[in-house]
Symmetry: C2
Subunit: 353 residues, 2 copies
């Protein structure tokens, strides 16, 4: 069972770990906050369980302590950034803000990033645009993890896509989906806890079915909805890689591979300023009305509640208030990490003790 801890305290602890590993305090705070936020939303595979791998890569030099990307080109709405292998959340925050600034001027802003690192949950960036009155779209590629329909070889990542709409409602209206049936992080969580996985999540390396997460990690994730998920994943791979001039397909390295080898993924961020199309207040009211329509709809027998896209994660966050649920094995790994770095943990140590 996961332990409930004070979210602010865990954030401060995780930030201290990154400072201990050589990242500057402000950047450390942002990385820690984004990881804890993912855990608060129930997205454990994007949560503080990543800190261990993040720090390993930071120490091995494949993730940079540089936090600001370099501008490769800037033409009209279109910007290409070199992430310089900084933490993806730092690059992503910067890039989406640039997209929003472009959208303010032109109507649309499109920022592609090469030499990027894992950015966590994509919804963060889409929502940052939505909070500023823009449609926000964020995506990235990963190394190949999934076969083409009928294939027996990994050719494309389970590349995620997030889209957020501006609204007045306090509940964010956001889609955040991986193009695999399940996220590799979820399979890794299952492997850590020794649980079986559903048979439509992945296949073995030879293409045959499995419910064993270890076999799945050595094998291939399956695209969601067959050719649809595969096609969408391919488009995201090429949108990120081709528009940035960065890596796509097999040029992106394994996230849990050699920590000295840059992950080298590519990101894409888009913002569309509502005010360039219509009255922004009316557009927000439309989104709010659609959300109400979904929630108040007739329910199938036994269903207690209907949710808008992104709402289940938000309700989970609300239900836990200022607390965050973290798996004991993850807390143990953080404690070990702190010990190695000679960092004192305030909130986490109390729980582990």
């Amino acid at each position: 069972m996961a332990l409930l801890l004070d979210a602010g305290g865990v954030t401060a602890d995780v930030a201290r770990i990154f400072v201990g590993a050589g990242l500057d305090p402000e950047a450390s705070r942002t990385v820690a906050e984004s990881l804890v936020e993912a855990d608060r939303l129930g997205l454990a595979s994007h949560g503080v369980m990543l800190a261990d791998m993040y720090v390993k890569r930071l120490k091995a030099g494949s993730v940079s302590v540089q936090s600001e990307p370099e501008t490769v080109s800037d033409r009209g709405t279109s910007v290409v950034l070199d992430g310089r292998h900084a933490f993806g959340v730092l690059t992503g925050d910067f890039a989406m803000q640039k997209a929003v600034e472009k959208a303010r001027v032109h109507g649309a802003g499109v920022v592609a990033v090469r030499h990027a690192f894992h950015f966590g949950a994509a919804r963060r960036f889409a929502l940052a645009a939505a909070e500023q009155g823009c449609v926000g779209i964020a995506m990235c590629n990963t190394r190949p993890l999934m076969p083409a329909p009928g294939g027996a070889e990994r050719v494309v990542g389970n590349n995620p896509l997030a889209i957020a709409m501006p609204c007045e409602d306090a509940t964010p209206f956001v889609l955040d989906m991986a193009t695999s049936e399940a996220a590799m992080g979820k399979i890794r969580m299952a492997a850590k806890s020794g649980a079986a996985i559903p048979d439509n999540w992945a296949v073995k390396a030879d293409g045959s079915p499995t419910t064993d997460p270890v076999e799945a990690i050595e094998g291939m994730l399956l695209p969601t909805a067959g050719p649809k998920g595969f096609g969408l994943a391919m488009m995201i791979d090429l949108l990120c890689g081709a528009l940035s001039g960065g890596a796509s397909g097999g040029a992106v390295k394994p996230l849990y591979g050699d920590p000295a080898l840059p992950y080298d993924c590519s990101h894409l961020f888009m913002a569309l300023d509502m005010g360039h199309f219509v009255d922004p207040a009316e557009a927000k009211a439309r989104v709010d009305a659609a959300a109400q329509r979904i929630r108040s709809g007739a329910r199938a027998p036994g269903v207690a509640r209907l949710y808008t896209p992104g709402e289940p994660e938000w309700r989970r966050r609300e239900a836990l208030g200022e607390q965050v649920a973290v798996d004991p094995s993850v807390l143990a790994a953080l404690t070990e990490l702190a010990r190695e770095l000679n960092v004192d943990l305030t909130t986490i140590s109390k729980q582990i003790a």
Copy 2:
């Protein structure tokens, strides 16, 4: 079994039907060509089977003989058009060309259309942008056809999304997906031929399962991949409706409902000019290389060939050369339609006789 006819001859015949119904010759030719092209690609549900409903709506006045949209606003990259209930393919061709022109100047172009009508297969518009060196994205909303996960009421359409990438390869690299597990047009085709449908395509009106296409038409389509397909459909609905200031959700009317009542859907077209980001030739080479990588990948036992997104439809078109396969029941309906309009059909009449 479908009959094989000369595609050019069928196009000329179908164009004559639209001219007979009062549409000008050039527009008639475009509408006919887009329907026949869908049939050539094997997308019969977007093919000439639609001509009957299209003509009924034209005669009843809910589809306009006006072919040019009106510009509502034009700010930077962002254009809002009023389609004035013209045939969607006419509005769509115009709108995507506008998006490409905007992308040439700014890097991105985004054109939203209100008061629009059915535009057929979305890939056409995405590919038109790709042929001009732009990433092309096209989407539209339909009336609500699918429930939210756990819902027993239709709240969102099976809104399609197409994305095309520029490439040198003669085979288009394009995703064109509905956000339902199956297209309503396919279910209508099954109903016409009396065939059963898979049980994950739709549910009855009360939310219970069915394999009967007639029950499915009276019931609800199911989103593809559950919450992912549902979320994507919701975002497309609002992107089209909120950015255009046009209809979304239940404000879009049934396509096969009262032919005097405008369908009133909304469209969205986006173009991203490759040259604003990177060297366009290099970007195309990247897409070609990705396509080769997919096709040459290891195959699961029994699989003869692997396909890139959009390739199966293209191979079907190639295999039939200048011919198009049309169902006898569809040809019979076209013949009846021609009789009503006092139009002579050259190619189709020969086959029916």
